[in-house]
């Protein structure tokens, strides 16, 4: 169970993901292709593992997390959800904090998670790590 179970609407039916199962999700494939590692997943092992742990922490699948950042307008077009993106930011910060990462180490890890969202079209920026 994650530390934010009581704060977020995680799915009770959520089953922990693994590095093998997560790559089957559309948003993960999109991320890997965009980042240029679509042909060599092994080069992304560390980042994939991080997203697996993030998903397991917040108890949402990667596709669900992306969907939470998107809202559909009345005319059917899609827009980035400010509410969803803000919630995602909270997810990311809680996740990194739970791993004991602070300072620049925390910023770097937060940005690694943000990369997954960025490559799925969710515009977001984290802080820069400056000594």
């Amino acid at each position: 169970m994650s530390q934010i179970d009581e704060d977020v609407d995680g799915q009770d039916s959520f089953e922990d993901l693994s590095s093998e199962s997560i790559v089957k999700f559309e948003s993960v494939a999109k991320w890997l292709n965009s980042v240029g590692a679509g042909k060599d997943i092994s080069a992304m092992d560390e980042q994939i593992k991080l997203i697996v742990e993030f998903c397991n922490f917040v108890r949402f699948t990667p596709d669900e997390l992306i969907l939470k950042c998107i809202r559909t307008l009345k005319d059917g077009t899609r827009a980035i959800s400010t509410k969803g993106r803000n919630q995602t930011e909270e997810f990311i910060k809680s996740f990194v904090t739970s791993r004991g990462k602070t300072g620049n180490e925390g910023i770097i890890e937060e940005n690694k998670v943000r990369g997954f969202f960025v490559h799925n079209g969710i515009f977001m920026q984290g802080r820069a790590a400056i000594l």
Partner: protein
Amino acid sequence: MEFKEAAGTRRSIRFFRPWQPVEREKIQKIFEAANRSSRSMNADYAKAIVVRRSELPAETIDALRNPTTTASLDLAPVYIFWYLDMDYPNGGADRLKELVENHVLTPSHGWSKAYVDEFLWPQVLKPIADNQMATMFMGTIEVGQAIANALLAAVDEGLGTCLHAFTAADKVKDMFHVPDSWIPIWLQLLGYPAEEAAAGGQRPRRPLSANFFEGSADKPFEEDAEVTESLKRDKLIQDPGPFPHREMEVKMISRMFGLPE
């Protein structure tokens, strides 16, 4: 730097050296360039506040952050907040008469103090001043001209610069005592580039014939190849991006600052 090279070298720079401060004299030059911009009525449309990140409390910088403008605030050592002063029409008649006195606006072109006092101000400019939409329309164009000068002056001084959406306007208003008549236009970030000045090469632009016309709107302006070549020599036209090493450059800089790759 010659004008053509400055205009050709200008890019939106997004990676700055946070450790290298910008000399105050360079900021003065940038402001002076902005102050020399073309403007109707010789009015003061543009207002700007320069602040240095190193002098701002962390909580002030944090207040400016949002999900879309965060890394940039950490990297740029200087922020310039640009505003349109909606009070710019005030004193317009006096400024125009000053130009008449200085033989700038001359009888040869129909100008006189009487025209300003009796016709131009009451019939043209006052109605515009009383129309908020018209005031804003005119004003944003003129502030844009000032900012364009400021951007080129920054490039001329060897700096990188980029315009950002002006967020957290209410917080900025309180923090920097901004008058009620000032409307936020752009946040200009400024600093020495952490990426090469060419920033991966000149940005793609459509040919002149796509946007400029001669004689009528259905007759595209045709370029003279010799002129085009001379503009390449003068560096107004530069090597197009992306340079072969650009992807790696961005990756390495992102890694240096711990940003998403």
